[in-house]
Structures are given as C-alpha cells and as structure tokens.
C-alpha cells in the first residue's frame, strides 16, 4: 500500500494482509436451521409431488408442441384480450415450448430448494500468488532458456526476427484491397444531367408542373433512366444518390435559393438524401417550409437555400435546378452542383 513511510495506515500493507475479524464479530456459521421438509415427512412428500407435477406438465407441454406443429396452420389466427389478433401457430408453439422448458426449470429449482440439503458449506481460499521460491525458480528457468537460445547475445537474429514478424501481417491487410474498388469520385456524381426527365420514384410516371399544387410536395422522385440502370447493375446504388423531393411554394415565399432561378414557377427540387448520415428525408411541414429528417431530426429550410436550421447536419441540402421540356414535363436543368449525401474527408 502506497502510504507515507511511518504514517499510520488504516489497513495493513502487505499482499493478502487482512484485518482479522474478532471471533465475536464474525463467528462461525452457527447452527443450521431446518426447513419443514427436513422435519415433516408429509411436507417432503408434498414437495416431491409438486416437483413431479411440474416435470409431468413439461412432458404434456412438449407433446402439445408436436400436436400444434402438425395441426395449427400458418394463417390461423386467434384473438386474445389486450394483445389482439395474433397468429395461432406462433402462439401455440410458443406457449407449449415455453411451458415445456419453464416447468423443467421450475421443477429442478423447487427440488433444490425443498429437498436437497440447504446446509451451507465452507471452502478455504488460497492466495493466487506463487511463493517466492517458485517465482525465483521460474525467473531462473526463464533466464536459463534465454541464455541457451542466445537471443540476447545475437542481436542480428533478434532484430531480423522482429522485422519479419512485424511484416508478416502486411499480406493480410493487402489482401483486403480487393474487397471493393477505390472510391474515386463516384460519390460526387449522380444520374442527373441536363434534361434528365423527373419521374415518380415508385411508378416512374413523368411529372407536369400542374401535378403539384402550391403547398404541395412530391416526396420521392428519380431520373427517368434510373430503372434501366438499376436493371443493369442489379442494385440500388444510383437510387441512393439520385433521389430528390419536389415542393411547390408561391414564388414570393422563396426567400433565397442556391441556384439562381433554379425553381420552375415556385417548384423547387432538393436532394432527398440527408447531408448528415444519408437517411431519406421525408417529413415536410408545409406552413414553415421546413423539412425534417426522421433519423436524427436535422431540419432544413427549403424556402431559404435548404439551409440547416436545427439538428446535427452540418450542410444544406443540395438543390437541383429544374425546368420543363418540350412536352411540358419537369426535367433537370443541370446536374447537382455539389455532392449529395453525408460528408466525407475529401469532400472539402
């Protein structure tokens, strides 16, 4: 114990040193108190029957499990007060298997509590530390081994071995290289190009300006060529970047926008992917023009550049400039001017 030399210490200082309790402060265990099942044979018999009933109940429950497995159908339902209508198969199998297991446990514990001896027994602890003789012997053996190996005398061997061992994990790291391609600049690029037609995200229907009333919103839109790209690649990568939302406000409600005249008659297009951690943003409050991310509640003001007004997101939502094509459908006037989605080191 790191106390000042000569000062009185509250507890003794050597390893394993103890305050020895006075016998009257911590006496031996004392007489063992008997349970009713120890003294009354009828109580013991009753406990025995209780245990057997539980084990027997488990047997019944297991058989019921097999019966339910065979007889209850996948689509059968059952209505239970408070819980409501639930699948009958899951319920019956769960109850039967659960009871089957629970009753084995309850029986075993009842058996241990009522019928097995409840007399406490005592084991002594031994200190874990080896005695000084053993330690000295180990130290000597080790020194002898080291001496015999010559590892201390031959630094050339020691150092080359160390170098070899340090290098050996390198292949393990190098071999992870082919897990995926280099990131390159893919995260900066989306499918949007000048003239990309804007379509509904699920139905892929093109959108006319008059489809969106003032105050209205299209919560999910994608470029028209997305389905083809998705089909080719068999994945959702482009969708994860290209998704946008469209909102329409009265042109005089737009206080500021990132791209001059980026709107079309008050229709604004913003990336739907949160600049915080990439969740699709869906909660639009028409009155305030605020867009809230459901994951971490970053809030963006769509009437004012898509700026962050609350929450953990650090960057505004990128705006997509839009216009209409010759057929009167909404199209992108240009690609995104800044990377969409979460920040990354090289983003700048």
């Amino acid at each position: 114990m790191l106390r000042v030399v000569g000062s009185e210490s509250q507890v003794s200082d050597s390893t394993g040193g103890e305050l020895e309790p006075r016998p009257d402060h911590n006496p031996d265990l004392g007489p063992h108190e008997l349970r009713r099942t120890d003294t009354d044979p009828r109580a013991a018999k009753r406990a025995e029957r209780q245990v057997a009933v539980m084990f027997g109940g488990s047997i019944v429950a297991t058989i019921l499990f097999v019966v339910a497995f065979v007889t209850v159908g996948n689509t059968d339902t059952i209505t239970i007060p408070l819980i409501g209508e639930i699948g009958a198969q899951n319920l019956t199998l769960g109850l039967a298997l659960g009871l089957g297991s629970f009753l084995v446990g309850a029986g075993a514990i009842q058996w241990a509590r009522k019928l097995m001896s409840d007399e406490e027994i005592v084991d002594e602890r031994k200190p874990f530390a080896s005695d000084s003789e053993t330690r000295a012997k180990v130290a000597a053996d080790f020194a002898m081994g080291a001496e015999e190996s010559g590892v201390m005398k031959r630094p050339l061997i020691r150092r080359t071995l160390l170098g070899a061992m340090l290098l050996l994990p390198v292949p393990a790291i190098v071999m992870l290289r082919d897990l995926g391609p280099l990131p390159e600049t893919k995260s900066r690029d989306t499918l949007w190009r000048k003239g990309s037609r804007i379509v509904q995200s699920v139905s892929y229907k093109p959108i006319r300006p008059e489809d969106i009333p003032i105050g209205g919103l299209i919560a999910g839109a994608v470029p028209a060529n997305l389905p083809i790209v998705e089909e080719e690649d068999g994945n959702l990568n482009e969708r994860a970047k290209a998704a946008i939302i469209l909102v329409r406000m009265a042109p005089n409600e737009i206080r500021s926008q990132q791209i001059k005249n980026g709107d079309f008659q008050g229709i604004l297009a913003f990336s739907k992917i949160c600049t915080h951690l990439g969740c699709p943003i869906a909660l639009y409050q028409q009155r305030t023009k605020h867009l809230l991310c459901p994951c971490h509640q970053s809030t963006f003001d769509l009437a004012d550049d898509g700026n962050v007004i609350f929450g953990p997101a650090a960057r505004r939502l990128p705006q997509l400039a839009i216009t209409v094509d010759a057929d009167g459908f909404l199209v992108a006037a240009d690609g995104f001017q800044e990377p969409v989605g979460p920040s990354f080191w090289e983003r700048g």
């Binding site: 509250q10 200082d13 265990l29 874990f128 994860a240 998704a243 609350f310 953990p312 920040s343 080191w345």
Partner: protein
Amino acid sequence: MSTTNRVVETTATWVDDRIGAGKWMKKNLRKVFPDHWSFMLGEIALYSFIILLLTGVYLTLFFNPSMKEVVYDGSYAPLQGIKMTQAYESTLRISFDVRGGLLLRQLHHWAALLFVASVSVHMFRVFFTGAFRKPRELNWIIGVGLMTLAILEGFAGYSLPDDLLSGTGLRIAQGIVLSIPLVGSYVSSFLFGGEFPGTDFIPRLYSIHILLIPGILLGMLTAHLLLVWYQKHTQFPGVGRTNKNVVGFPLFPVYTAKAGGFFFIVSGVLTLISGLFSINPIWLYGPYVPDQVTAGSQPDWYIGWLDGAVRVIPNWETVIFGYNISWNILLPALIIPGIMFTLLALYPWIEAKATGDKREHHLLDRPRNAPTRTGLGAMAISFYGLLWISGGNDIIAQAFGWSINSITWTIRVLLFVLPPLVFVFTKRACLGLQRRDRDKLLHGRETGIIKRSPEGEYTEVHAPISQKERAQLLAVREVDYTPIEAGPAVDENGVAAPKKGRMGRALSRFYFQDRVVPATDEEIDEGQHHAADQLDTVRQQGSITTGSH
C-alpha cells in the same frame, strides 16, 4: 438401483483410467458457490447466449444472406409481387412459411435484447459491489470486451434481414464510416464492395455475425467463466464469511439443479414472450429501398444511446485545406463512445490508484461503503440514460406534444448539469447511510419502545443487533481508506521528497476526503452493552412489550 450404480461406476472408471478425471472431480464436484440473487444476472447473460447459439444455428438453415433481387411470391399477401433481396425474402419465408420459424426468429431477437440487457446489469452489479478489484481486474477487462462485442453482434444481427428499418441503420453506419478522417471513403468502398448499398455487404456481415464475432464471444466467455471458476466467486459479507473463505452450496447437487434449472426458466420465459409478443415485425417495414424511410425509426435498445449521442450533438464540421472533419459524427459515434469504454475498462486501475490498496478482495462491498465509486457509477448511468432518452427525442416529442428543439436543447444542458448533481447526491446518500450503519453498530437497532424516565424525559430504547447484521455492518472497516498524503518535503536525511505521485494523491483526496470513520471495537462494545442494559431494564419492568422492528 444397483444396476445404475454399476453403470455409473464402470463409466467413471473407464473415463478416469484414460484421462484421470477423478482428481479434477474430487476437487470440483463439491465446489462451493455463494448464493445471492444478483449473482444470477451473469447467469442470465450466459443462458441467453446459449439460446442465441441454438436458435441462430436453426435460422442459418433457412436464411439466405444474398442481396440478389427476386420477386416475392410467398404467403404474406401484402408483399406479393414486390421486388426484394433474397435476404429479406428468406426472412419472410422463415416468418410465414416455416412452421415455428417465426417463433425461433422472435426467440433469437428477444434473447439478443435480454443478452445485452443482462450483460449490462451484471456489469453494474460487478461495478457497484467492487467485484472488479484485485484479483479480478482481468475478468473485468474481458467483461468490457464481451459487452462491446455483444452490442456490435446485436447490430450486425438485426441488420441482416435487409428490411427498410435495418437498411436505414446500415445507411447510418455507412455515413459514420465515411466520416473517418483520411480513409473513410476507402473503408466504406471496401466494406460495401463499392457504393452503398451494393450487393456485397449482407453476405459479408453474415459471416461476421455467425462466425467471426460469435467465435470471439465464445472464446472470451469461456475465459470469463474459467476465471470465475478458478478464482472462486466473490461473496457478500455476513456471518462466517471472510476474505479467506467461500460459503455457499455445493456444485453437485444444489447448483447443478439450481443453475441448470435456471437455464430452462430463462429459455422458457423467453419462449413464452416470443409466443406472445411480436418483435421486429420486418414484414410491416417492407424491403429496403434507399429513398424510402419510416418516421420514428428506432434501433434496438442498446444502440439507442449512440443514436441519441448522434442526435444531440451540435452540427460542428471543420474544413481544413479542402478536407472535411465531421465532428458532428466523429464525436458522438466514435470519440465519445471510445472514451467511455476506455474509462470503463481502466476503472479498476483508477480506483486502485486512489486507494493504494494491493490486497485481494473477495468480500463484496455494499455500494454505500464506497461512496465515491457509487457516485461515479450513478453519474455514468445518468449520462448514458440521457443519451438514451435523446435517442427517443422524436417519440417523446410526439407523445407529449413538446417541441423537438426544446427537448434536444434540454438534453444538451442536462448532459453537463445532471451527472455531477447525481454524483454529489449519490455520494451524500451513501455517506448518510454509512452514518446510520455506524449508529446502528454503536447503539443497536431502534426498538420502537419509548421509555419515560422519572424526570419525565422520553427516550427510545435500542436493542443489540443480530450477529448477522453486525458482520455485515463491520465489513465497512475492510474498505475504510484515508487520502494518501504527501510525506514530509524533506526526510530525516535531508533528501527532498520526489514530486511523483501528486496525481495519485489528488485522486485519493477526491475519493476519500469525505469519509465516515467506522466505529472501533471499544466504541461498539460500549454502545452495545448500553443498549442491552437499557432493554433489560425495560423488560424487567414488564410494562411494555417489545415492539417489532
């Protein structure tokens, strides 16, 4: 009977002849384990883990960890004809077309929730009773590792079905990976085999979830249990219990029945819950599509505090020389959890530095007898709890109609204000309880008997406390530390004292400056005799019956 005996004997001989199991059995068949309800918390964790292994193996028989897209034609009508990955499709098949599949899936999920919960509460027990002290620091470290892996494993598991909720969770995880300075984009591209979501990640996560992490968990868990076995379990102070013995019931038969039985109780209760209560109904969420999301997305409970940290942080980001450092993600998702887990892992050494105690401790502390430790623990829990509440800020806002901005700001302030208050309050409460214990040791327990003296003074009669209680109360003397103080600036030989140890002394002062001095033997004897005399007089007068306490 005799046939059974013969079979047992023959088998035992056969085994012993070959591996000498007798010596080991002789030592361990009647090995003593102490009894206390709180020792079952670790058992619950162990049993949930076994249930996870069993149900997990079953689920692998049906789950197909592939991100190849198929059109659903299974028996769940609302999703028929919808494009989804095979991972999601096979999870639906387990839930609707494999008999008992839903039960086992729900059992796997409930067991995972219980696993992390019981690991956490078990850790609280170990912390607040000081079971991490010498010689058990190694097991504490293993435990912290187990808890970290348990959280990761849970997250990996619920991300596998590729439903809308778990896909959103993966998207967030990918965003966190992207925020790593310098290498974030590369790590993300390698993990996902290119851009998010790609088609590689679920199969990769699958081998991590069913092989890599469970393998490490199993190894560490074995080491954890072997150490408990070898070092023998700690026990609470009480009659006959000392630092040098272990008092309890034998492994065979009592603990074989109790612990074995308890396994069936835990799995029985979990199975009943899985039969009655739905968990993670992925069919309601639909397949993952990166431009769709459900409002009120919530992770499993043990991820809640991380999500809450991410929600509550202000939107700090720095751009230096055209490179981007996202503090708003790095701090809550990586740096703060890193600090929290490091402090947790190092705690045994921090406290040992303050006590300067090198002894072995096998008797557990009552939390009140270590006021600073208990205060620190309560403080940490309040910090964690606030983050956890922050993870549900949208739910709270909706349920109570409060502004989400006010909730977030309140939590930001509380994160700095509440934990210190909790520390002070808890520590004071512990010291108060210690003072009461001390009074009890000195004057005995209050009997509820009021005595009137001839002068008209009313006093309450105290009775001596039981031996059991006295043994429990006296344990405080084992852990009564005074602050480590600096020696004289110059010792008797005129050598200046080293400056070293100043930090340790400050730490020690922080821990032990406020302390309740335990009663000495003499004080106790005097007080108890007084109490006994007092009670005798009252009993002899016979006018008052002893009030029950």
